[in-house]
């Protein structure tokens, strides 16, 4: 095995990097891959909570870098899905506790044992971003359909390109199909037009995101919800499968249940 290393970035904060990392990691593991999600947001760790593994964290990746523990001691194994691991961040340290060379070395050490290494990046374009991105080959850029988020995504895409990351692909998160239909929200194609970048998926606004955070269980582990399906599709596309985009428009304006009914009767290609 030689893992693909993928960083989840955004520029603007709070657009769904951690939610995306957790759900894609769980989905890839469900598809039989061996996955480690690294929380690269040192000092503001969240991935452990979103994955519901906070009570099992003993060491963090700074401990590994500083050789306080072995990497196997810091990895938290998710007992719900085989092949899913978390490498937590330190909560009481700052981003200066680590440098890009150390991140690269950490990823290299993990590569032989995994299929995927997903790095959950902090917001911004400063040290924390540069550390997380250093170890990665590929990038996912998360944006919401709003001007500030798209603008910052453009900035990050430019930086990732100059760092030589490839492919760099876009996740549009929190899209509200009914607002798009009413002409009050940037549509997928508007955003792709201005950013000129490949799309890997569109995730609708979905209250189940909050529910799953409350429960500490990524949606892709069990929930049948629009966002869960969107993330499962993204994971499949990462695996190189050609999965058509969800028909979010037909879900707009109707109730969630009629949409779900349509989804399951309408020949979805879930395996």
């Amino acid at each position: 095995m030689a893992a693909r290393v993928i960083v989840t970035t955004s520029g603007k904060g709070g657009v769904g990097k951690t939610t995306s990392t957790a759900n894609i990691a769980a989905a890839l593991a469900k598809f039989g891959k061996k996955v480690v999600a690294i929380d690269a947001d040192v000092g503001l760790r969240n991935l452990d909570v979103i994955m519901g593994l906070e009570n099992r964290v003993v060491y963090n990746f700074i401990d590994v870098i500083e050789k306080t523990c072995k990497i196997s001691q810091a990895l938290v194994k998710d007992k719900r899905v085989p092949g899913l691991f978390l490498l937590p961040a330190a909560q009481t340290r700052t981003k200066d506790a680590v440098n890009p060379e150390q991140m690269i070395a950490l990823c290299e050490e993990l590569k032989p044992d995994f299929d995927f290494i997903l790095l959950d990046c902090p917001a911004g374009i400063e040290g924390g971003f540069k550390n997380a991105a250093a170890g990665a080959d590929e990038a996912l850029v998360v944006t919401t359909p709003e001007i500030p988020a798209v603008r910052d995504a453009d900035r990050i895409i430019g930086m990732l390109e100059s760092m030589g990351k490839s492919p760099i692909r876009l996740i549009i998160n929190r899209l509200r199909p009914n607002m798009v239909q009413d002409g009050d929200m940037l549509a997928k194609d508007d955003i792709l037009d201005v950013l000129s970048i490949d799309l890997i998926g569109v995730v609708p606004e979905d209250e189940n995101v909050i529910r799953s955070t409350n429960n500490g269980e990524p949606m892709t582990m069990s929930l049948d919800s629009p966002a869960a399906h969107a993330y499962l599709n993204i994971a499949e596309r990462l695996l190189g499968r050609d999965v058509p985009l969800m028909d979010l428009e037909s879900y707009a304006g109707r109730g969630f249940f009629s949409w779900i009914k349509k989804f399951f009767s309408g020949g979805s290609k879930k395996k």
């Binding site: 900035r155 002409g183 940037l186 201005v194």
Partner: protein, 93 residues
């Protein structure tokens, strides 16, 4: 933005998503070229000062701006000319 807003040609008739897209396009052109409105204004003044040495131009109808097409950015100037000055060495249209 349906046919009504096109008919009346007002920005107010446009839906907010279309306005957002237009604003974004302008913001990103400036971000990507690192060119601020002030810098563009200075650039415009200097270009015009060179051009008026050779030709008479109609100042009110000048348009100089950045345009983006397929990932490339171009500086596009449209400068209507009234008259070529005697002794001016370049011809423009």
């Amino acid at each position: 933005m349906g046919f009504l807003s096109r008919l009346f040609g007002s920005d107010n008739g446009k839906d907010s998503a279309q306005r957002a897209k237009n604003r974004l396009q302008i913001i990103l052109i400036n971000d990507r070229t690192d060119i601020t409105p002030e810098l563009l204004e200075n650039l415009r003044e200097e270009i015009l000062n060179v051009i008026i040495k050779y030709v008479d131009i109609e100042r009110s109808k000048i348009a100089i701006d950045f345009e983006k097409e397929q990932g490339a950015t171009a500086l596009v100037a449209n400068i209507p000319i009234l008259r070529i000055k005697r002794g001016g060495s370049i011809a423009m249209n």
